[in-house]
Symmetry: C2
Amino acid sequence: MARTKKNKDTEGEILKAAKGVFQKKGMDGARMQEIADEAGINKAMLHYYYRSKQLLFEAVFSNAFSLLAPQLNKVLNDDSSIEEKVKNFTSNYISFISKHPYLPNFIIQELNRNPKFFEKIQQTAAFPTLEKFKSQVAAEVEEGILKPIDGEQLFINIISLNIFPFVATPLIKGFLKIDDKGFKQLMEKRKTAVSEFIINSIKK
Amino acid sequence: MARTKKNKDTEGEILKAAKGVFQKKGMDGARMQEIADEAGINKAMLHYYYRSKQLLFEAVFSNAFSLLAPQLNKVLNDDSSIEEKVKNFTSNYISFISKHPYLPNFIIQELNRNPKFFEKIQQTAAFPTLEKFKSQVAAEVEEGILKPIDGEQLFINIISLNIFPFVATPLIKGFLKIDDKGFKQLMEKRKTAVSEFIINSIKK
DNA sequence: TTATGGTTTAACCATTTGGTTAACAAATAT
DNA sequence: ATATTTGTTAACCAAATGGTTAAACCATAA
């Protein structure tokens, strides 16, 4: 039974507000009252719809992860060549994250806080697997398209180069002495610079 | 007047305990009581020596950062070639971090929580600068030793490849389906794999 | 031996925080 | 129209938490 008209989707408002607060402050730093204020509703509603802070947090976390997973699946499971994948992923991922700047750090941070979350999300949703990517790398190495490289290491390299700057943004801004605008420009350049860097390294 | 004998260095014990707790749980997640317990002393002592949670935290943070800065200065300011620097840094850094696994994530996380920390530490200690590294890269490109690459982008690439796996350890363990031992082996391989990857990409 | 000053502790305090409750309002069903 | 379920609120509560205090402890100097 779909929602019967109803202009206020309180449950959705809460999730949206919770997303913002949790992603900025983390589980420990977030306050239920702040989420309620952000959503413009009474604090008791949070518990009415989500029972507890923990459960609300998990809803936000799953939601966030399910945004990232398809991005990863793109590198791992489509049928283009490794070179194509690297190019597409790098450009797409940087565009995507620029719209969700808190996402990577949020996921990494909370996964560090509670590694068991991984198991919980692993079961749900289309969870990325490395198998295909690894065998594809091995095949292209065999065919002489790529220099010898381990698929796992290459995978780590790709995500490191793409994700790290968004996780360590304040650090990079500090070292490079740039502001928000400068950072954006830098990331814009990285859309091609990173894939060139990778391709240069692995292509025979 | 130096410390007069005295077997108990309470102040030091507190810092040590605070280091452990703050690095594992972050500013928000850490509890003063837990730090006191860890140090085996009364909670009031924390305030006696460090006034407040905030000040104790800052002591820990500065201390942590001052461990990392020299590592970075090594890449940035010594006189070896870029290739040498990359090789040395990669190997040294991975060894170093294996001994302080919480360090990178702690710094990044708390810098995200409060970007103003950067200014505070920037003034103290031998703070890493990029200038020399950038001009050296430009020079080696000019001389035809390196393929054309921007020094800033190369810097970001180097630290991304080296630091990210330690920041996103649970994520990587999850994707690669490996345990602690497997992760250590993987990082051991990276001591050479990462520098090869970089050198392959930039050397003419 | 006894002041003296720094060190340590147990008890306490005010505030914050996640969570509950009971009453009330607004739909929805009968 | 009226009963019943669903949504919403203000007030409340117990536990946790950072911080304080006053008294005790203890080494050293007079």
